[in-house]
């Protein structure tokens, strides 16, 4: 059996006295799009931070296709094939959109920057400084910076944050196509249930820093504790 694309064991992290992650195990099958949901403050961003090397974990290990990357910094993880986007848009405001993507592509020896600009509807903005583009364009640029390469595993922290419901769905469909075409394994943190249920084969539910449930969209929809903790009556 081949190694999981991304495999975490016993990940923990504390902020002062608050335990944001308490021993999380996670295995992503190569090529899958995994949804990660949970109420506000559940620890979703913290999990992405620890997986991507942004924040040190206080315990546990991370493997990428079998390679132990636990002690590596963000740059080394990107070279190993792990990329991420940010919940709060993280781009280079003063630089032209195209130049940013070139910068990202060059580092990993990628040639797909122009195509990706097209596919994410950013080509017309290539020469425009990112700060002068619309919010939705900036969100897609954040995504493009992570997707160029392509990386082997992609961690997306609420890529649709702040978009309208319609825009979110459009972005989700685009994302599914792009990931499928490139064979990228995706961990998708998303608040919008409709988006997650639409494009994810499996969903992991985080609550209070621990995994509450994991399964297919149908299983998660019916999971009594998930319904109680997160989906509430609205989804029932």
């Amino acid at each position: 059996m081949s190694a999981p694309a991304l495999s975490a064991r016993g990940l923990a992290r504390h902020y002062g006295g608050v335990a944001a992650l308490r021993g999380v195990d996670l295995d992503l099958v190569p090529g899958e799009i995994r949804g990660l949901i949970g109420p506000n403050g559940a620890g979703k961003s913290t999990l992405v931070d620890v997986l991507s090397g942004r924040a040190p974990g206080s315990g546990g290990s991370v493997r990428l296709f079998g390679q132990d990357i636990t002690g590596l910094g963000p740059a080394a993880r990107r070279h190993a094939g792990l990329a991420r986007s940010f919940q709060r848009t993280s781009i280079f405001p003063a630089l032209p959109v195209g130049a940013q993507l070139d910068l990202a592509a060059r580092r990993v020896g990628a040639t797909d920057a122009p195509r990706l600009l097209d596919e994410l509807d950013l080509a017309r903005l290539a020469a425009v400084p990112a700060e002068q583009t619309a919010y939705g364009d900036q969100r897609r640029l954040d995504l493009a910076l992570a997707l160029v390469g392509p990386p082997r595993v992609l961690l997306l922290d609420e890529p649709a944050a702040g978009l309208t419901a319609e825009e979110s769905l459009a972005l989700a469909d685009r994302l599914r196509e792009l990931a499928r075409a490139r064979g990228v394994t995706v961990l998708l943190v998303e608040h919008d249930m409709e988006v997650v249920f639409r494009i994810c084969e499996r969903i992991t539910v985080l609550e209070l820093g621990a995994i509450l449930a994991e399964g297919t969209p149908q299983e998660i929809r019916r999971h009594p504790e998930v319904v109680r903790a997160y989906l509430g009556s609205a989804a029932a």
Binding site: S52, R54, G73, P74, A75, R78, H79, A83, R84, F86, S90, I91, F92, P93, A94, L95, A99, Q100, D102, L103, A104, R106, R107, V108, L145, A146
Partner: protein, 320 residues
Amino acid sequence: MSGAGRIAAGALATAAAGPAIAALVPPGVLLSLLAQACIYAILALSVGVLARQNGMVSFGHAAMFGAGAYLAGIGLGAPGLLPAEAALPLAVLAVAAVCFGLGLIVVRVHGIAFAMLTLALGQACFEAANKARGVTGGADGLTVALPREIFGLPAATFQWAEGMFLIAWLAMVALAALAALLARSRFGLLTEAIRENEERARFLGYGTVLPRAAVFALSGGIAAAGGVLYVLYNGFVSPETVHWSVSGSALIMALLGGTRTVWGPLAGAAVYFLLREQLVEVTERWLGLLGILLVLVMVFLPDGLSGLPRRLRRQRGAEA
């Protein structure tokens, strides 16, 4: 024309303007002032490079300027040891090398903390220049006798207003062109990206400390080159040259002109010296007026005077 071609053409045209200026300006005090202005413009350029590529505001660049001057002075004072032709470039390289090493440490500090750090390190250098009497001559300063010839030019050329003006002008243009080429290179783009968002640059796979330290070294080297010209022209350097008020003046020049463009600090130095000369005639209060101008520019023209054309263009665009 490509960007690099434009820079080269602009640099050549500006360089050619030097002799014209020297011919037009009556020799004497004004030309001597212009020579000093070019030397300080190089210091302002170095402050601007650091601000533009690394987003760092330095209150301590007089230390690099002074170090270049002292090292060159010491090298020229021991002609048996090194020919002047080697001592002068070595002074610049030594400062750049030290700045690179220092840069590996200091570029981890950002914003106001970096401004204060450079102020502290600069003042430490000022005190060291005062205390190390054996090497620097202490508070009395270091008087430097030039050898008869340097790079085939008679020593008098360097201490004659017209000669130094031309040399400093050409050096200024060459260093600005170098900075401009760097800015539009891949390396320049990378450092700008790190300036804009260091964390994201790391997540794109880039190490961020080395490029920032390299910019710090380049900036230090440019400042040192200014210092070398300073000691050649004045034949003297003292701790006053290293004082933080000199760093402050260079920073004012850079910010007045604006650090968004490479040439902004040069324009700022021109404004600084013109203002000083013009205002001194009518009022002694030029420093206060300079302070007011600095405040107004920072509040209303954050990109400095060199950002003005762009701003106007944009405004016109918005109205159209």
